[in-house]
Amino acid sequence: MKYSNLKKQEIFAFYTFISPWLIGFILFTGGPVIASLYFSLTNYTVLSKPEFIGFGNYSSLFKDPLFWTSLYNTIYYAVFFIPLGILIAFGLSILLNQNVKGLAIYRTVYYLPSIVPAVANAILWIWLLNPQWGLINTMLKMLGIEGPGWLTSEQWAKPGLILMSLWGVGSWIIIYLAGLQGVPEQLYEAAEVDGATKLQRFLYITIPLMTPTIFFTLVTGLIGAFQVFTQAYIMTNGGPVNSTLFYALYLFRNAFNYLKMGYASSMAWILFLIVLTLTLVQFKLANKWVFYE
């Protein structure tokens, strides 16, 4: 290919400007990623040299009941959190897209939780989920419902953590708001002229035009949900009875508490494969429902 001098200069400038990121990425992310692939095939305590054992880690993983428990817990979390998160964020963004007084305040209020630091968030929710004096159970009590023990209950600990995550969907709201505002006004006007009802306009204009945005949150949400860690690490430490032992938490324990870095690396690669497969499937399915203008 032949480039003009100006073009060449531009290309040079482009790579020069992004080089800090590029170098950082290759060194500090790319390097460890590749290294972890090698470590996943070894017995590696970090304190001694890795010892090559082929697929030994992978085969013992499949026999490890805690691996399956942690995978189940994580899938449970993802299955409930992602659809609920999308519904709530989408619903709120529609409300926040109306022309009402004090809109800026509402938008701030709903976004605010997502910038609360994870640890502060966790401490706050320990209190909210407090079975006796927590705000949630107090409110349930007003409705005549005896609230569960949340974090101390095997059945309710995961739902409790999901509830907590839903509080932080502010960043999705922003994305949906941007999407909603990108829907061309003239489409609505044309539909109105043709006599379409509000519901029809929503179903046949808003939703189709929002599908790319929903798809985006679905993909990123899935990747994020499979990495859920902080809440369980701080609030429940995996309990009660391993009911909140998420995949990333178990991986972390193996890597840093049990000196099984090779084992943890193989867990990381399995997680990567799972997420990769699910993402590819979603892209495949996307052809059927995502509408690009």
């Binding site: 023990g149 101390t152 009875v241």
Partner: protein, 455 residues
């Protein structure tokens, strides 16, 4: 040479000699430990006594249980600190992997002898006959009972439960429900405080590992019996584990402590509670050895705590040794005590707490250090606290050490907790839960032994 010249020459020589002493090379030791004001002041005290050594401290970790991540990363990168504080759960495994410097030669040279230390933790610092650390501050667990609550239900406040049966009988009286059947007060919660299943296993004479540390034996019938007793206790006197857990969830924050606020009458907890209770002058409580399963059995308890280790790759092993030997011994204890008390005076003023701040000595594993602290600080404590302190100190002689959890100590710890929860929540029988625990830990233990590098 004229006399004058000679004088000049001699004085120059003199100056040179002295200045070389004064400017002797100062060695800086990096130390990962605690960095709260009393500790930092203690490091400065060390520097004053040892002008040729500087301590550059940094925080080992916010969370005691997770000190290892930071250390592991540093080890992998080859820049571990010269010396560090280590927790005893993981110590053996780290030591077996040659993470630490063998200090056996130093202990011989400086006559640091086993008889000067409390045996359980001292033994824990060895692996394969070599010593890799000095035991620092430790803890012991005892039974505390709330005398006010005893009085309320007509129990003699001066008589503590001696056996597990006593715990049951007392709890029968001390546990209360409201009109709707909701629990509002408990006698005793076996898994609350700082007891863990380990203590019941040990109290019942159970053994968690074989004598070589290679076989996991948590399915020992005596341990199964202990866990089974806990399960039954929860079901009968606490409305089940979940009811108790959600009751306790309500009490967060120090001032809310269920023991202090007369909600739970008895607990097994650590010696550090003496500090905490001292801030509640209205609280009347007693301390006793943990109750035993049957009359006539010997009480026991368990201890974790800190070890001071030197990293294997240090360039200044001698200076690091001087430092940890000082820190673990009487000099370090004296300095720390003085600094803690100063700090507490400030806290007392800031929080406007009632009474005078006191120093309840930390439990040093070094006998001389313990004696120095007792001589100086014990007479200043209220008579009651003195007795309790004698109990927790005496326990240092008959306690079990965390290092008895073996080479896969942390896995064992987590799995025992998981097994206990599984049993308490009736997911499995105590026997099956412990059997599963045994299988899982055995695997980790085998791996850990396969990776041992110390010959």
């Amino acid at each position: 040479m004229s006399k004058k010249k000679l004088t000049v020459l001699l004085s120059v020589l003199c100056l040179l000699t002295f200045s070389s002493v004064a400017f002797a090379e100062v060695v800086t030791i990096t130390f990962w430990g605690w960095i709260s004001p009393e500790w930092v002041a203690t490091y400065r005290d060390f520097e004053k006594q040892h002008p040729n050594i500087k301590i550059k401290e940094s925080l080992v970790s916010q969370e005691w249980a997770s000190t290892s991540e930071k250390f592991l990363a540093a080890m992998a990168a080859g820049n571990a600190p010269d010396a560090s504080i280590q927790n005893s759960h993981q110590f053996s495994q780290w030591a077996s992997q040659e993470a630490f410097y063998d200090i056996t030669a130093f202990t011989k040279k400086d006559k640091v002898l086993a008889k000067d230390w409390f045996a359980p933790q001292w033994k824990g610092t060895f692996f394969a006959g070599k010593q890799f650390a000095l035991p620092g501050i430790t803890d012991t667990r005892v039974l505390y009972w709330n005398k006010n609550m005893f009085k309320q239900v007509g129990l003699n406040p001066e008589v503590s439960p001696k056996t597990w049966k006593d715990l049951e009988d007392f709890s029968e009286k001390l546990t209360k429900k409201d009109a709707s059947g909701k629990y509002i007060q408990f006698g005793f919660l076996p898994y609350w405080g700082n007891s863990w299943t380990w203590i019941y296993g040990w109290l019942n004479g159970g053994r968690f590992l074989d004598s070589k540390g290679k076989k996991v034996t948590c399915d020992d019938p005596r341990i199964v019996y202990a866990l089974d007793w806990m399960v039954k206790f929860y079901d009968k006197y606490c409305g089940g584990a979940q009811v108790a857990a959600s009751f306790l969830q309500g009490f967060q924050g120090a001032a809310n402590d269920p023991f202090v606020t007369n909600k739970v009458a008895m607990q097994i907890n650590g010696n550090w509670q003496l500090w905490f209770f001292a801030t509640f002058p209205q609280l009347e409580y007693g301390a006793a050895p943990p109750p035993v399963p049957k009359e006539g059995m010997k009480p026991t308890t368990w201890s974790c705590g800190s070890y001071y280790a030197i990293s294997a790759n240090t360039k200044h092993p001698e200076e690091a040794w001087t430092f940890i030997n000082w820190l673990a011994g009487p000099e370090g204890a004296k300095a720390l005590a003085k600094n803690v008390l100063e700090q507490r005076k400030k806290d007392w003023q800031r929080q406007q707490l009632p009474g005078e701040p006191v120093y309840v000595p930390d439990l040093f594993n070094n006998r001389q250090a313990m004696k120095v602290l007792q001589d100086e600080y014990l007479p200043k404590l209220p008579a009651k606290v003195q007795d309790e302190f004698k109990l927790v100190t005496d326990a240092l002689n008959w306690t079990h050490s965390c290092t008895e959890m073996g080479l896969a100590g942390l896995t064992y710890w987590n799995e025992m907790d998981a097994a206990t929860q599984a049993a308490l929540y009736h997911k499995m029988s105590a026997k099956d839960a412990l059997k599963q625990c045994k299988e899982r830990v055995q695997k980790a233990l085998d791996d850990a032994w396969a990776q041992v590098k110390v010959k």
